[in-house]
């Protein structure tokens, strides 16, 4: 728990410093009282200062630890896979079209998240795809890609 806190603090500190340095590099055309660089620079410094405070809190042993609500480790694998699936879904829309891509996405997503039964994946996939196509595509007029494969 403490180590993740230190990492979070360092990320905050680094991000703040990065913002401040980037803002400093901006040119001030000198038209107004303060230029376009001033406010972002303040923000960067505020974030960096928060990072420094967090770093100190994570390194100094003290009361914070007692509160330590240790979270279970995240299921990074499942999360990364879902993200990859979403990207694949978004990319495939253009090629195989919304209806087919949705059937595949729903099936794959259910399998990934631990639902059981191939028949269910297929039924759920077709049901969701059909419902969305009718409700959003037909009734609400969302432009759902038909897919180049099908001449869309």
């Amino acid at each position: 728990m403490r180590r993740t806190e230190t990492v979070a603090a360092l990320v905050t500190l680094a991000f703040g410093t990065f913002v401040a340095v980037q803002a400093r590099a901006l040119e001030d055309p000198g038209l107004d009282a303060i230029g376009p660089e001033a406010f972002p620079m303040v923000l960067g410094l505020v974030i960096a200062a928060c990072g420094a405070v967090l770093l100190a809190q994570s390194l100094v042993p003290g009361r914070r630890e007692a509160e330590g609500d240790a979270e279970p480790p995240a299921r990074w694998g499942a999360l990364a896979a879902t993200l990859a699936l979403l990207v694949a879904y978004a990319r495939s829309l253009e090629w195989i079209g919304f209806p087919l891509a949705t059937v595949l996405f729903v099936g794959a997503c259910l399998a990934l998240l631990g639902a059981r039964g191939l028949a269910r994946f297929v039924v759920a996939g077709i049901a969701v795809s059909l419902a969305v196509t009718v409700i959003f595509g037909r009734l609400l007029g969302v432009d759902l890609p038909a897919g180049r494969l099908f001449g869309g």
Partner: protein
């Protein structure tokens, strides 16, 4: 236009076919979203936001108003049935509601949430319009220093609620403000933080980031928890509702809850959860059953459920009167207004009063729709809570993607939603304040431009914020809302060694 005219205009607008459809669909989706764990009112609103693209702004607002109203009731369904509130603001109702359900009085428990919620919602909508007129008049006297101070106050009120770490709360708000700086600076024409990426020149679009940070991040969090066993609810429950006399008996608690909700709703940062907890503890004092709170008494459900519904309309007041959203839901509403080319703020009431009337009418019609839908379909809503989580997650992911397609954004924005989702999830997991970041993004341009305009007025002197009493008062309030939790924390620690 006088108050009566405004009310009449609002109601007529919401009774057009398009308006009525928007309200009913909004409320139905709101009840579903509210009942689903993790999907809060603001997330439910963010998910349907893209589909308002192409609709008239007043129809869009009525849809979102419907979602917001419905969600506050929907959240009490799992609170009562499985003691797991669908929204944080339904937590108090889970205490006595669940106790009542265990006794076999499920229908009564739901009724004591639905009817007081409806009453509060109607009174709240009237309070919204009544408060709006004088406040908007006040806001017309505001200059850049006041708007800057007000935006800072709105932001710090949310930061002050960061339970886990104040430093992380401040960093989150500053992060959101930084995101708002990306793109061409309006005043000087300079490119900021674009790093040569074409998609960033126009700035970071609010709607994709709001959907990503609020909604997608929560779906990721649900995936993270998806392996946890899900309580299944028996749908064989008694749905007998309370009698009219019983409703009348808890009218004092209902009205107290409503009053608390109205007051808390107007204040930025506080919101429905604070209101419902306050209503629970305060109604205990006036209730005849005060000593039996927790055992399943009507007042203990009616008061907090009235409070969270009363917050819905009044939390729109800071947004409509000043253009400063005081809550996440108001921030989503602001996103919708901007998407439809409507600039919220004091000019709205005089320039485009029909927008405000439509929102009012939508809220009022939504209250009635909530009552009817809640009353007619008690069992179907219970089935929804039983839908396995993986199906819910998958459907919402499809909805997010369809939403992005609906907005007709480019590929770049699709990735923006995904990135925002990942960032939001990481922030949430490591104790940062996603709400503060979203609010920062929405308020960013307001904060910076008003700061710069104020400094132009004063020729660069920061004294202008001290010399103008309203600006000074707001900045003091902002500092206090951050310092107050710190002080309370310290006092508590000293008392309990």
């Amino acid at each position: 236009m006088d108050l009566f005219g405004a009310v009449a205009d609002g109601i007529l607008r919401s009774l057009t076919p398009a308006g009525l459809l928007a309200v009913v669909v909004g409320v139905a989706w709101g009840i579903v979203a509210g009942a689903l764990p993790g999907i809060t009112a603001s997330i439910g609103m963010a998910l349907v936001l893209p589909f308002t693209w192409g609709a008239d702004p007043d129809v869009a607002l009525m849809l979102l108003a419907g979602v917001y109203v419905g969600a506050e009731y929907g959240g009490s369904i799992p609170a009562i049935l499985i003691r797991a509130p669908g929204e944080p603001s339904n937590a108090p109702a889970s205490l006595d509601g669940y106790a009542m359900h265990v006794r076999g009085e499920t229908g009564r428990a739901l009724g004591f949430s639905l009817v007081p919620g409806t009453i509060a919602s109607v009174i709240g909508a009237v309070a919204m319009v009544t408060l709006l007129v004088p406040l908007a008049r006040l806001a017309l006297a505001f200059g850049p220093p006041e708007f800057f101070a007000l935006a800072v106050f709105g932001l710090s009120a949310v930061v002050g609620l960061s339970r886990r770490s104040l430093a992380k709360g401040i960093a989150s708000a500053a992060f959101g403000l930084t995101l708002a700086m990306v793109g061409v600076d309006d005043l000087s024409g300079e490119d900021r933080f674009t790093f040569g990426i074409e998609g960033l020149v126009e700035g970071i679009q609010t709607v994709p980031v709001v959907i990503g940070m609020l909604a997608l991040s929560e779906v990721f969090a649900e995936i993270d928890r998806a392996h946890e066993p899900q309580a299944s609810i028996s749908t064989k429950v008694r749905t007998a509702l309370p009698t009219l006399i019983e409703y009348v008996r808890c009218l004092p608690a209902t009205l107290l809850g409503t009053a608390i909700g109205i007051v808390v709703g107007v204040m930025p940062g506080a919101g429905a959860t604070v209101a419902s907890f306050l209503a629970y503890t305060e109604s205990r004092r006036i209730s005849k059953d005060g000593t039996r709170y927790g055992e399943g008494v009507p007042d203990a459900i009616a008061a907090p459920e009235a409070a969270n519904n009363a917050v819905v309309p009044t939390s729109m007041v800071p947004l409509l009167a000043f253009g400063i959203p005081g809550s996440t839901s108001a921030a989503v509403m602001m996103g919708a207004l901007i998407m439809h080319g409507v600039r919220p703020g004091p000019q709205l009431l005089t320039g485009q009063p029909e927008i405000v009337h439509a929102l009012f009418g939508g809220l009022l019609t939504a209250s009635v729709a909530m009552y009817l839908l809640g009353r007619l379909f008690i069992r179907p809503w219970i089935y929804i809570v039983n839908v396995p989580k993986v199906y819910m997650i998958t459907s919402i992911l499809v909805l997010v993607v369809v939403g992005i397609l609906g907005l007709e954004l480019g590929v770049f924005e699709v990735y923006m939603v995904l990135v925002a989702g990942v960032v939001g999830f990481l922030m949430q997991r490591y104790g940062y304040n996603v709400v503060a970041a979203v609010l920062g993004l929405v308020l960013g341009p307001l904060v910076e431009q008003n700061l710069r305009r104020a400094l132009v007025m004063s020729r660069g002197s920061a004294d202008i914020f001290v010399e103008r009493p309203i600006a000074l008062a707001l900045l003091v309030l902002a500092a206090a809302s951050i310092a107050y939790p710190l002080v309370v924390d310290r006092v508590k620690r000293r008392r309990s060694p």
